[in-house]
């Protein structure tokens, strides 16, 4: 290997091709039992102090969210800052923001599964959980925005007392179907994936309530050949079913805007641009959560720098796609020579009241991920965290730019009005973060954060053709001479 790394390119090289090896997805040759013990240990052992330090404020903030919504019910939607012409403000911004975050989970589970990306196994479980909690956070906003939350069931096409029929021509109604379908399928997908691991937890528990509950939800799983065979078929079908949903949800969300004739909203690239943005924001949130997680729970051998590297690359790709869409919007505003389009983008980027949001968005979403062109940036956890935070913020700015800054200066200058968020807006949003974190921390506490069965499947020894004594190829890391390459260390129990 040494010789290969330093050998100059010459005609004396062997005529047969050399083999370039793939990086291992589990480091330090960890065994099956080590993986089970390490992941189940998170659930079985006492949580570290940091868990409580995060959990208690999260619960308090979730309570603040409940309080804010209660106050809103008591006083009316006017407690939020929106007034005409800004009828959609933080509520819809936050709705789209959370829905976007909820995209990475199903993308990782479904699309990366169908494209046989084995690295997904270390992060899919947590990302799916995150998806479900994010969609819950998203769902509450339109629910309360309708004004009378107790009437929200009118959105469902079921007979009601006033014989009100839903407006099927409205993308807002399609949203109800798209989001609820996405949520249902994501929950089922997540749960099906959990079944074998729940059985593992059940088998390790002492008799008692815990064992009973894990046993109940494990649906009598015994790890039999037939079980695995059915499980894999079901998983594949659910992945196939979820894939169009990943695209449809955010496409339908984009229709909320793009079907209108509002300059700055109506543009044909919105559906794929929203989907790319959602994947972008979702992956940033996965990294934001998983980088601390792997450190706190000692999962560095399972969520390796290779995983972080891949996710950083996806962020770079989707961030660049989003940048392409921003530039395309600007270009077409110019190319169309439409005075309305031109004015909308001029106000958004040059002389509107909220111009800085546009540049904050552009910096966070397009410029900051460009750091990921450099390997050192993808391999330095602080840089990855910093860029992920930028993207989290940037994706919120993006929705704010699209929704609020467009409506602030919509068509009639006499009616222009700058939006100011109220304390209820602020605390409701902060509260949803508390609710999200609370759920995620509970997930860490009670369920296996990594799919145990799936990670074992990507170990080299799980391959029936694996030959431990076979001729070794060249590691890319050797060729590149990276200083921080991960040399396998002696495994310690």
């Amino acid at each position: 290997m040494e010789a290969t790394a330093t050998a100059p390119a010459s005609s004396s090289a062997p005529a047969t091709p050399r083999i370039l090896e793939r990086e291992p997805l589990v480091l330090n040759h960890r065994s099956y039992s080590w993986i089970t013990n390490r992941i189940c240990g998170i659930v079985e052992n006492k949580q570290p102090g940091l868990w409580w330090a995060l959990f208690i404020p999260s619960v308090i903030l979730a309570g603040v969210m409940v309080f804010c919504f209660t106050y809103l019910i008591a006083a009316g939607v006017g407690v939020w800052g929106q007034k005409q012409p800004v009828a959609w403000a933080w509520d819809i911004t936050n709705f789209v923001f959370w829905i976007g975050i909820g995209h990475a989970g199903t993308l990782i589970s479904a699309i990366l599964f169908l494209t046989r990306q084995k690295w997904r196994t270390s992060v899919n479980r947590a990302a799916e959980a995150m998806t479900i909690f994010a969609v819950m956070c998203a769902g509450v906003y339109p629910m309360f925005h309708v004004g009378r939350v107790w009437m929200v069931w009118f959105l469902a096409p079921i007979p009601n007392a006033n014989a009100i029929w839903q407006n099927f021509k409205s993308p807002l109604l399609w949203d109800v179907f798209a989001v609820s379908t996405y949520f249902s399928v994501s929950v089922v997908f997540w749960y099906i994936g959990l079944v074998p691991d729940l059985a593992t937890l059940r088998d390790r528990c002492k008799p008692g309530l815990k064992k009973l509950l894990y046993g109940m939800f494990a649906l009598g799983w015994r790890g039999a050949n037939r079980h695995w065979s059915h499980y894999e078929t079901a998983y594949m079908l659910l992945a196939a079913l979820s894939t169009p949903l990943v695209l449809s949800v955010h496409s339908v969300v984009s229709f909320d805007f793009a079907t209108s004739v509002v300059p700055g909203w109506h543009t044909t690239i919105f559906p794929p641009y929203f989907v790319a943005g959602a994947i972008f924001g979702g992956f940033a949130m996965v990294l934001t959560l998983m980088i601390p997680c792997r450190k706190i729970y000692g999962l560095q051998d399972l969520i390796t720098p290779k995983h972080i590297d891949n996710m950083a690359k996806i962020i770079l790709l989707t961030g660049t796609i989003v940048g392409y869409a921003y530039c395309m919007e600007l270009f077409m505003a110019y190319y169309s020579a439409s005075p309305y389009e031109g004015a909308a983008f001029k106000l958004r980027t040059l002389d509107g009241p909220s111009v800085w949001y546009y540049y904050a968005m552009f910096f966070c979403n397009v410029i900051s991920p460009q750091l990921f062109w450099f390997r050192w940036a993808r391999h330095n956890m602080w840089t990855v965290m910093a860029v992920s935070m930028c993207v989290n913020a940037g994706m919120w700015y993006e929705r704010y730019v699209i929704i609020v800054t467009t409506l602030e200066v919509h068509m009639t200058p006499g009616a222009w009005r700058t939006f100011h968020a109220t304390w209820v807006d602020n605390w409701t949003f902060i509260g949803t973060f508390g609710f999200f974190m609370m759920n995620f921390l509970l997930f860490l506490r009670f369920l296996p954060v990594i799919a145990i069965g799936e990670v074992k499947g990507v170990l080299p020894e799980s391959n029936p053709h694996h030959d431990p004594h076979g001729e070794k190829g060249v590691q890319e890391e050797d060729l590149m001479g990276y200083p921080d390459r991960h040399v396998p260390k002696a495994a310690n129990a």
Binding site: S11, P17, I19, T268, F270, P272, A325, A337, G342
Partner: protein, 432 residues
Amino acid sequence: MSHHVSIKDLPEGGEKFDPAKASGVITPMLGFGLLGLFGSLYYFAAKPAEFAYSWLFAFFFCFTFVVGGCFWILLHHASNSSWNVVIRRLFEHLANMVPVIFIFSLPILLMPSVRNALYEWMVHHQAAAEHATNGDVREGLHHMSESNPHMHILWAKYGYMNKTFWYIRFILYFLVLGHIARTLRGKSLKQEQDGDIKHTIKSRFFACRWLLFFALTATFAAVDWLMGLDYTWFSTMWGVYIFAGCAWSSMALMLLLVSYLRSLGYLRKVVTEEHYHLMGKLLFAFTVFWAYIAFSQYFLIWYANITEETRFYLLRNTEGWRWVSIALVIGHFVVPFVFLLQQQLKKKPAFICFWGVWVLSMHVLDIYWNVIPERGPSLGIGVLAPGAWVGDVVALVTIFCLSGWYFLRSLNKYSLYPWRDPRLIESVNVVN
């Protein structure tokens, strides 16, 4: 795969194509191409305005394969994937057809009668130059906009839509694609000489960077050549729409090419049913992706229903073109979607080849539907100008057959697959 293939099972030096074996296809292609060329010369002389659209349609159809070829090699390198190694050389060869396609673009670039027939804005610019006192087109457009509001559009976007910049961009598109294709094949061939793995890694770096320029090239080529046919129309999705068709059709062409080469006895040791399955899956994925993009663009324009945008679809939803639009929905999406969904069928070369032919036919229809209605609504299928379609066929036969002939004729220069690629064995033994 019946057994694991090792390096020793494969011939050193790869496999070389012998054009003599394929003379049954190469010679007729040359024959038809030359016949078409005579026909094209006649049409250029007799009906330049009408034939300009035929030529653009045929040229753009073949151009999409080159764009698709570049995309697939860029993607394969950038994503560090291995399954594709055995077919990558063929994609490299497809992408390297850039100079040939450039030759076929020359009538559009050099013949004023063709350009003016296709791009109305150029005629207006000419009129504006004559209208202005000092020949300043921009000033002329400004004056003309007082009597014709459409001229205001041309005035407003003069910075982009002017002849000089158009010529520069025209050349630039070919230079970018040519550079991508040449560099990636160059590195691959160098590796065959020295066996150095670093070429693989360098190709990856190159591909990541150039994907960006590729995206811009594909987008603006589509804007200039097709969207520019109607200078009043615009859509931010346009570049993505055309790109989806490029990736789709070039994968179909590759399926047909691989099958043809296998029928001649080549690639049999390296291309397995797993590769067919993978290519079939990508064909399926892009069937859906195209439909998603096409639907989104149509749906948003239909729903908003504003006059600035609707002209494109009004033209294609009236007279005979309506039936072509419906045929595209069914043939470009519904039918291949249903059939390509099934895993077992995608592994059968004969089956997947049928769908390759189907996809290419639908791609012809798609490009036809994009270009030809602009020749004039009166030329819709329902009341087709007598003989107009003959010119379209002649142009298509000319460019497709002559390009195809050159492609197969020059396929013998290098091994059909990169035989010293460090991921070759991984590719040959791929299971998905």
